[in-house]
Amino acid sequence: MPSKMKPRLSRGVLDMKFMQRTKAKVEKEDDDEQSRALYSNELNQKMLNSNSNFIIEPSYSICAGLSDGRLSFRGMNPELERLLELERAEKEGKTKPEQPTEVNDEQMAETYYANQATAISKTIQKKMTARNDINKRKSNQKKMQFKKPRQDDGGI
């Protein structure tokens, strides 16, 4: 019998700080075993081994892919119509065929790595010219001033 028994870690070992993950694992195994033992009379071999290909879905709405039944037309309920409009836009955005890309994946990868290489050299350069930078920023500050929006920008 003892040969069949799995070696168990002692409590003292499991309580150690670096064994926390193992402890969780062992506890989960114990739990599983217990629940298996609890239901072992009810479960037969067939239930354990069968993997069903069927999913039961009791809702007609989900099966038939029905749309939401709350609609408004021609300004009857503007709030609702705005919501519907948003939804429609989102749906169209999603279902749109793949947008033609200006840059293909390969090019993207190439430029990305090229950029990374330059980025490293840039950081070194930056460090070198850090002091100059601060000076520059000071001189730039004038340009970065907050601009008051024009009056007619407000109402869109």
């Binding site: 709405s61 099966c63 038939a64 892919g65």
Partner: protein, 232 residues
């Protein structure tokens, strides 16, 4: 029209579904059940299929059986502690917590009275427990859900509700051309409509009810005539 429409009858094995099930996972909708590894129909009606792997029986039905995720119209019946009892046409009355509304707190309860109409989503549905509703989406916004004010409410078969909600159904779009209106269709066979005047609202309700005995095929034809129904 044709008497030889292929329908399935209760107890019938649906081998066409079984064949598909051999290759991949399939979804069995209402009216189909699994007996060991056989698929058997439990209701009478045409077998429907939606790509890629959904099958169900489109039986005629007037009694609603709650299913999770359905959008339904309920009538508030009573207030019970921190719940409202809502009649949704099923065997059990449903319940909705007063916290299941937008911006509701323990202090700030929604103002609902018996007789109010709710457009709500079924959150929980199980044969063994009473169904539970919500009036907010997962972001805590009411979205399209909530109380339906004014308007006109009537009942119909569940099939009519489903018919109107198909993506390709031309009926609602056809009515749109006649008058501005607002509608809520519950898959529990309840419809609420609202137009600018009582006269228009009643006409609208009549127009929708004429579709009750229409098939998918006849709808286009009937939609052409909806204008005349609305005038009447």
């Amino acid at each position: 029209m044709s008497a030889n429409t292929s329908i399935v009858m209760p107890g019938e094995r649906v081998t066409s579904v079984e064949d598909v099930a051999k290759g991949k996972r399939i979804i069995l909708g209402p009216g189909l059940r699994r007996v060991d590894d056989k698929v058997v129909a439990s209701k009478a009606g045409p077998l429907r299929h939606k790509e890629p792997n959904t099958f169900w029986v489109d039986s005629y039905q007037r009694r609603y059986v709650p299913a999770r995720g359905d959008l339904i119209i309920g009538i508030v019946k009573a207030r019970a502690g921190d719940m409202y009892r809502v009649d949704i046409g099923s065997a059990d009355t449903a319940s909705i917590s007063y916290l299941a509304f937008e911006a509701a707190t323990k202090k700030n309860r929604p103002d609902l009275n018996p007789g109010d109409l709710l457009y709500a989503r079924v959150l929980n549905a199980n044969a063994d427990i009473e169904p539970e509703l919500v009036c907010v989406n997962s972001n805590g916004k009411h979205g399209k859900l909530g109380v339906l004010q004014d308007g006109f409410f009537f009942k119909c078969s569940l099939n009519l509700g489903r018919l109107l909600l198909r993506d390709s159904c031309p009926a609602l779009a056809a009515i749109k051309d006649e008058l501005p209106y607002e509608i809520a269709v519950g898959v529990n066979g309840r419809i609420w409509v609202k137009a600018h005047s009582t006269r228009e609202t009643v006409g609208l309700a009549n127009a929708i009810m004429t579709l009750e005995h229409a098939g998918y095929a006849e709808i286009d034809k009937i939609c052409g005539n909806l204008g005349s129904v609305l005038q009447a």
